[in-house]
């Protein structure tokens, strides 16, 4: 059945408006990064007249953004590696073992989800200082586990539940240990879910702002979000470099997300089936 013309026209007009609203800020970020300072502040233009990579070079050389990118990568990958192992073990335990009190873990995870971060950062800061981890990357690697682990455990619980336990039981009849069944059967079968949870953990850590702002205080330990936000205060005519930094911080993570979207969608769907 074909839609009436009026409906089709309205649909495409609205779609055009939404695409415009989303596209303008994104376009402006990229255009600013590619413009010369003259085009930015003296001789305004919508398009970059003389596209240049000058701002990218400057944000990397003068602002030494590479150090911050390295920090962000170190924190996000360490957190992710620990998270995936720890959450997979926990999810396996909750889904495949029977013991009293395991339903409390699910409740604790939900509690964490509803607990405001604004309430946690003050005590976490006191804990980090007490542990002698103030102004270190380790403080971030440790505290980021507080949100990546509950999230990934929850997601993997859903994933593991969607896989029939019979396969592991057969393997165990054939002499495999329970842990052996996890490593040889369950983990290979739930690879998409594990990839998805790793990507989520990486993105969450890469984008985290509040804890990084509170815990780190100088250039050598700052992650990318904090470094870029400090540049706003520092210099008035910094927008070209700032947008170049914004492009560098967001393009890889966006590509990663879309490459893995298939896994992510599957992972979410599996997690949603049974909480």
């Amino acid at each position: 059945m074909r839609e009436p013309l009026s409906i089709r026209v309205t649909t495409y007009v609205l779609l055009g408006i939404f695409v415009f609203l989303v596209a303008v800020p994104l376009f402006w970020m990229v255009a600013t990064a590619l413009k010369t300072n003259k085009d930015l502040y003296e001789d305004f233009s919508y398009w970059p007249r003389r596209p240049t990579l000058e701002h990218f070079v400057r944000v990397i050389e003068r602002e030494d953004l590479l150090t911050n990118i390295r920090n962000s990568l170190a924190v996000a990958s360490t957190t992710t590696a620990v998270t995936v192992v720890v959450s997979a073990l926990a999810a396996f335990s909750i889904v495949r073992y029977r013991y009293r009190g395991r339903e409390w873990v699910g409740r604790l995870i939900l509690f964490k989800y509803l607990l405001p971060t604004a309430m946690l950062f003050v005590p976490l800061y006191a804990i980090v200082v007490a542990l002698g981890l103030g102004n270190t990357l380790k403080s971030l690697m440790l505290t980021y586990l507080s949100f990546t682990v509950p999230f990934c455990t929850w997601m993997l619980m859903g994933y593991f539940r969607s896989i029939p336990p019979e396969l592991e039981e057969h393997a165990m009849v054939d002499g495999c240990t329970k842990i052996g069944a996890l490593v040889r059967i369950l983990i290979p079968l739930s690879a998409p879910g594990i990839v998805a949870s790793a990507i989520f953990s990486f993105t969450l850590s890469w984008n985290e702002f509040l804890l990084a702002l509170v815990f780190t205080s100088d250039h050598s330990t700052m992650t990318v979000p904090i470094k870029l936000s400090m540049m706003v205060v520092g210099d008035q005519y910094i927008w070209g470099q700032l947008m170049a930094g914004a492009v560098l911080a967001s393009v890889p993570i966006t590509i990663l997300y879309f490459l893995a979207q298939r896994f992510v969608v599957q992972g979410l769907a599996a997690g949603a089936v049974k909480g």
Binding site: M1, E3, I7, T11, L14, L15, F18, L21, V22, V24, P25, L26, M29, T32, L40, F44, V86, S87, A90, S93, Y97, R98, Y99, V105, L108, I109, F111, K112, Y113, P116, T117, A118, M119, L120, F121, V122, P123, Y125, A126, I127, L142, S146, V149, P150, T153, W206, N207, F209, V214, P225, S229, V232, W239, M243, A246, A249, I253, T254, F258, Q261
Partner: protein
Amino acid sequence: MAIRPGSIGVALPAPARPARWPSARVRESLGGVGLLTPTLLILLGLVLYPFFYAIWLAFTDKAVGSAGQFVGLKNFAYVIAWPQFSAAIWNTVVFTTCAIAIKLVLGMAVAIVLNQRIRGRNFFRAFLLLPWVMPAFVVYLVWRWLYDPLSGLINYALIDLGIIATPIAFLSDRGSAMGSVIAAHAWRNFPFYAISFLAGMQTISQELYDSAEVDGASRVQQFRYITLPGLYQIIGVVLLLTTIQTANAFEPVYLLTGGGPSDATMVYTMLVYVMGMVNLRLGEAAAVSTLFLPLLVGLVLVVTILLQRKARD
């Protein structure tokens, strides 16, 4: 454990079956708890302990670098009398309700459009998801630049089109600061509402619409009596998950206005940050966040009750 070929032939003494300890049930429990231990330690040490520690801190005069002494309700009395505190309550409520309302309407509109038969639907769905996929801090830095009164795009375009004569100081004018922060937040977060609603719409049977069409129901009636009721549950889940998130938004305020001008956008998360990290008064900062806990729980309860009532109708 690798078994060396030479060791295979060694006969092990057969364990006496009935005396086997621990029993299968105990071993199952031990194994399960063992695997769970790292996660349990993280949840207890980095979530539950800080939560109770925050409440304890609210009753002490702890500052950075000094051990806190118990001071009773002094922090609460101080904080409640502080003029920024009442501003923070009001601003948090305004920010949360306006932001959610905009995200709800915009998300629904986008979901309806994407649910139509349009060419390149997968492309548009991915494209309209971009604001939500981008890192939040990047989005707010970009918006700060868009709002810039001297060289920002919005002011330039509005003057170029002849809509305004002089630039608007979006973020430093008391009248427009809150609206500008809300708009940036809504731009970044509406896609989550849109994809959730779209997923819900795609589970509603086409037959319902076909028979409504036969009965002569208009598009608006179809939306009102088929789509919306079919979405109540998913709207409920989305609101439940995002109410707390929205009320706790920190990045838009910190990166766009820092709580200013003269506290016009001072939401409670920003106030906790200022008290704890700028004034270095951890006890008072913890008191602010503890005082907001009932408000947040109340917000969630209101949302849940409203939804349940709606679901029963």
